[in-house]
Symmetry: C2
Subunit: 358 residues, 2 copies
């Protein structure tokens, strides 16, 4: 039975106020009753990306960022003509180079003609939020996918439909491949315009795969404990997009060991190593340019060393192939806009497709 009453009272109060004018009685279904994608463990306690036992192993900043819901989505099937939303944030975050929507809000996609297509965005206003996502739908039974906030912790979310509508947990897709990405702020989703435009989620839609987003803003620095966490997650491909944060020296010290440990724990799973995008400011600031070049060089060295060990399942993507060459793909020289993310999703997605053999 669906847990219609699991949401806090404030939500129902907000709903009554919002929808009184439509004379539309709504029922809200707790997100935990629907299908959660983008993470590898079950819990109806939270929308964290890693469970508490795994989080314990990690450095404090990563431990905290793992509570952000980046890459998580909730899928459901409904014939509702109106879809509403209520959600509560554990924290509100403002970022100068992201929209409040991407950080604290949600967006909805619907499956139409076999393709995931954007439906609407949910405007965040504070810790407790309520929004009519979309009205005047055609009432056909469809699959929807709701992306959770990229850069904060969401503690509760409920999907509201008219009481006479049907809403069900989406069925798990058959034989869906799973990709796990470890990375930095770019992987976590800075600076997508809305949650669904982070590149792991674009890739998931366009290739019909599940992607686990383990991007940790400013903190994708390849601690050895991270490998244990990654290796515990069954995956068809691991992507290491973790060059942006560590210094060249750190990469020299850590990258080879990181890859080798992952290979030992997962002997047969393809690993794709991805260089850092060349920071656009590096085209002007010679120090930033030199640093990015060195970071990528050290990562390439680690790759070549690992290839020397005859690793047939190790793949590599060069920086120059990632985000085009018109210099218009970033918001601040480092973080990608939707332009950059669409290009990155295509570049990495092509390699994933080859590796998975689709």
């Amino acid at each position: 039975m669906k847990n219609y009453i699991s949401l806090m009272l404030f939500m129902f109060q907000a709903a009554s106020a919002s929808f009184a004018q439509d004379s539309l009685a709504l029922k809200f279904v707790d997100g935990h009753e629907l299908k959660l994608s983008g993470r590898a463990f079950n819990s109806n306690q939270n929308y964290h990306r890693l469970d508490s036992s795994d989080r314990k192993l990690l450095i404090p900043r990563v431990k905290e960022l793992a509570t952000n819901s980046a890459g998580l989505s909730i899928s459901f099937t409904t014939d509702a003509k109106t879809i509403s939303l209520q959600w509560r944030l554990a924290r509100w975050l403002d970022q100068w180079n992201m929209t409040p929507l991407a950080v604290n809000g949600l967006d909805l996609y619907g499956l139409k003609d076999g393709k995931w297509s954007y439906v609407a965005s949910a405007r965040p206003t504070g810790l407790n939020n309520s929004a009519v996502l979309v009205k005047n739908l055609d009432g056909q039974m469809r699959d929807y996918r709701l992306y959770l906030p990229l850069y904060t912790e969401i503690s509760e979310v409920g999907v509201g439909v008219p009481t006479n509508a049907t809403i069900n947990k989406s069925a798990p897709p058959a034989n869906q491949k799973r990709v796990v990405i470890y990375g930095s702020s770019i992987t976590q989703g800075a600076s997508a315009s809305r949650p669904g435009m982070a590149y792991p989620s674009i890739m998931a839609r366009s290739q019909n795969i599940e992607v686990i987003n383990l991007g940790f803003s400013g903190s994708g620095t390849m601690e050895t404990e991270i490998v244990d966490v990654l290796a515990k997650i069954p995956a068809d491909v691991y992507i290491l997009d973790c060059v942006a944060n560590p210094s060249p020296q750190m990469i020299k010290d850590r990258a080879y060991g990181f890859v080798k440990k992952l290979r030992t724990l997962r002997p047969n799973t393809p690993i794709i190593m991805v260089e850092s995008i060349f920071r656009e400011t590096g085209n002007w600031d010679s120090q930033i340019g030199a640093r990015t070049t060195q970071q990528n060089m050290e990562f390439r060295n680690a790759y070549q060393r690992a290839m020397g060990d005859s690793d047939k399942n190790l793949h590599y993507i060069f920086s120059k192939d990632l985000i085009g060459n018109d210099h218009e793909a970033t918001i601040d020289g480092t973080h990608l806009t939707d332009v950059g993310f669409m290009r990155l999703a295509e570049a990495i997605g092509e390699e994933v497709k080859k590796v998975i053999g689709k």
Copy 2:
């Protein structure tokens, strides 16, 4: 002589604090001493888009929005190796579907190999701001272009370079064509990631033209007084991108008269009428879909009626050609991300190129 002391004291204090560690003495040049593009009148009093006599004619909301610096840019030539910035906002604005950077911040482009290329973004923190934009430049004499905030009023801006560097007002480009765009929030720049990514500014860079951005968020509703304001601005092309805000009935009532009045006041200047993008939410919400279709239909009727008067200099761009068909170009179903703006700049830019005969 450059007015090195026109900026308020706070700015110098901020500068001293910021740059003490670099032991780098800076001089700040007031923006009014440099070349301002994107508006048609001279004033060293403000960075408004319309002067006070024109603003008086307009409805209150447009009058207010005309104080926002959307589309304005400051150009200078310098051999500095470091470029800093100080700016003061009249108001700070938060928007759920825009970045603080786009609303309250600035971004810098540089001319390299004959092309405008992104350099860096200036992070806004409050009403009084100070930022090192870029360091470690090569010290060659170059042209730079600094885009002002899209959605608020900037009251002062100063460009800082080391005291031993040269900084000059950029020379006005020879025979540069000018395009004036009248429109809605989309024209004003919602939701570009940063000021330079609003579509009028992308078009200006890619076609080497000056574009005057007269987009007024939520208020591009074709009042007859606006025509007087537009017609006063000498232009090579007028673009009317003003279908998004008025109701279908308003468009029916106003569009034909608006175009005819502009034609009377400017008998020989090409006018390009642009339909509204089809609101992405309209693919799902039948009412929104029907409304957008009706808006465009009424605009098309006005075009056909005006063409019936044998207007050879009237051009038209259809909705379907504007932002692609993958439904990934908006942040909220209505406002465009950089993805949408790059597509829109190309679509409208192609028509501008044809009309200007470049």
